[in-house]
């Protein structure tokens, strides 16, 4: 069992231009999508809680890039990025934020409850830690059927202190389930810094208590995230059991739209923003000659158009049919 901080080696396809540009496009899409969502929120088109992952795009995109289409994803309430990176239609995701019938969850769930059966994206969940046992259960289903699908379960550093995390990881550990637990460690659970909430601040060290490998990686390096998660997912697929990966990253925006951010300094935030992972990745693409500014700018334009189209679609979409209020409470009422 390896528990050290370890750099991942690039996979062959990670050197291919198409793939690299895809990763860039996805990170940009998430960034732009969330910036626009924030605008629409202030306009009142989106309500309730809106949790942005701006700054965490590499962890969003790298994890999804490591999966097979039939692998399964469980995420928490900060999951616009996971949904988009998984290939869900930006129109339908934005429509969900708007509470429209055309939304991915038919407007019933909103920002915190994005899901798509077709994409094996089993939901955003808003009870911290509450989805982790569900993810273990789906991994159990794969083991039960002898399927080689693998489950990826995403949550934050704050979630590791919930009883649900503990019970689910122990179950995965004792039953050797095909699942990878991916923690976005952005150093805060709402306004509580990890050292004020966790006896052990290096999340990967928790893995040892469940007899599974734990790794800590740079969550702001999309290639490292993809390579490491893929390695752990394939390990699970090969029947070698569960694992935990800690992706070190940072949230540029507040916890939700309501956050006064009294708990961290402007300097701290600025330092991270100065190392904006999307800017860094673009520079890398240019420096390594993968693509030139013109190509990359074209992607920016393309993403811009996609997001504008998504907002227009969401805005023009109809609300759910009032007569459908009781639909989906029961399959057989």
């Amino acid at each position: 069992m390896t528990n050290e901080r370890q750099e991942a080696v690039l996979l062959p396809h990670q050197k291919e231009k198409d793939h690299l540009l895809h990763l860039y496009r996805m990170m940009l899409l998430i960034r732009r999508f969330e910036e626009r969502a924030a605008e629409e929120y202030t306009k009142g088109k989106i309500a309730g809680f809106l949790h942005l992952a701006i700054g965490e795009e590499p962890a969003n995109v790298g994890t999804m890039a490591a999966l097979r289409p039939d692998d399964d994803v469980f995420s928490h309430y900060r999951s616009h990025g996971h949904a988009l990176a998984r290939g869900m239609d930006p129109r339908a995701v934005m429509a969900e934020l708007f509470g429209k019938e055309t939304g991915v969850s038919r407007g019933r769930g909103g920002s915190m409850h994005l899901a798509s059966l077709e994409h094996h994206f089993w939901g955003g969940y808003a009870i911290v830690g509450g989805h982790i046992p569900l993810a273990a259960g789906m991994a159990l289903a794969h083991e039960y059927r002898g399927s080689d699908r693998v489950v990826l379960c995403i949550f934050g550093d704050g979630a590791v202190n919930t009883g649900a995390f503990h019970e689910a990881l122990n179950l995965a550990g004792v039953w050797r389930l095909p699942i990878v637990f991916a923690v976005s460690n952005n150093f805060y659970g709402m306004g509580t810094a990890i050292e004020r909430s966790s006896a052990v601040t290096e999340v990967y060290k928790r893995a040892a208590a469940y007899n599974m490998p734990g790794k800590r990686i740079n969550g702001n390096d999309v290639l490292e995230v993809e390579a490491t998660v893929r390695e752990l997912v394939e390990r699970a697929r090969a029947g070698e059991g569960p694992s935990l990966v800690e992706m070190v990253t940072y949230r540029f925006r507040g916890h939700s739209m309501a956050d006064p951010e009294l708990y961290r300094s402007k300097e701290e935030v600025e330092q991270w923003k100065a190392r904006d992972p999307i800017v860094v990745f673009r520079r890398r693409l240019e420096e390594e000659g993968t693509a030139d500014a013109a190509e990359l700018d074209a992607i920016v334009q393309e993403v811009e158009a996609t997001v504008e189209d998504a907002v227009r679609f969401a805005d023009e979409s109809p609300e759910p049919d009032p007569d459908a209020l009781f639909d989906y409470v029961y399959v057989n009422p």
Binding site: D72, F74, G103, V104, S105, R106, G107, R108, G109, H113, A115, S116, L117, W122, G123, Y125, I127, G130, H131, I132, P133, L134, A135, A136, G137, M138, A139, L140, A141, H142, Y144, R145, G163, A164, E167, A168, N170, L171, V174, D327, Y328, V329, Y330, V331, N332, P333
Partner: protein, 333 residues
Amino acid sequence: MAEITYREAVRQALREEMLRDERVFLLGEDIGRYGGSYAVTKGLLEEFGEKRVRDTPISETAIIGAAAGAAMDGLRPVAEIMTINFTLVAIDQIINNVAKIHYMFGGQFRCPIVIRTVGGGRRLAATHSQNLEVLFAHIPGLKVVAPATPYDAKGLLKASIRDEDPVVFIEHALLYGTRGEVPDEEYVVPIGVSDIKRRGRDVTIVAYSRMTREALIAAEELAKQGIEAEVVDLRTLRPLDMGPVLDSVARTNRVVVVGEDWRSFGIGAEVASRIQEEAFDDLDAPVLRVNQQEVPTPYAANLERLAFPSSQQIVEACLEVLNIRVGASVAAG
């Protein structure tokens, strides 16, 4: 027709459904090697193996969550929570996940699990003798079943396992040893149908689970005094089938509602409210309730006897709604 115990009836239902449907499996604490804490699952491990009869850690949150996650992917888990007292450590999974997964994501997913658990108990003191069914009956998205006889237990459990919605199936510790007729041929009892267990014209007694038996004993007592009580067994608490209750009240005009739970905010409160709402003009007297005294269950034998409802209390309540002073008797009519 064979006369079997309630315990055996539950076991037969589990076994027949496991034989019928490969997707059905059991998980819970000590259901396998130990043989089941109430011996309900005895022999099933030997017959079906560790894959389909899974002993778990003492992790109720993981048990329910894992069952739900497996169900989302198409399996048919039957989770046993050793007693209803322990559902409290898993109730977030039940209320925030299991009950809402179908609705919250706009009907994309289903969560057809059965949560088998056990109410009641004797000389087990405050934390091990509770009847907490109302905590589940209050929740849209759940179905709640509480059978009183071997026939109903078997038929309703088979229906629950086949149901597309999640079902909380509440057995009763003191009923396991009771016997009753069960057909040799395959049958199911539909969820959501109350059942008249005894005909009578003078007073209606509404009950469920073990209290149905007490009600029938009380009815025999009353018969000796020339009073014919009708006993309606709810069988299902959610959805609540008031039809047979209201029909009965239309004939008897007097009702006693019996529950082993605490009276305040218990199951009987809803039943009484529905009766006065829907049969106001039929009532010749207020709907009375007989329940456990409002104390955490004491261990001491004499106090516990005083705490739990008895057939004698049911008799007295019936005489009260009939305006008959205890002791006196009436020519029925």
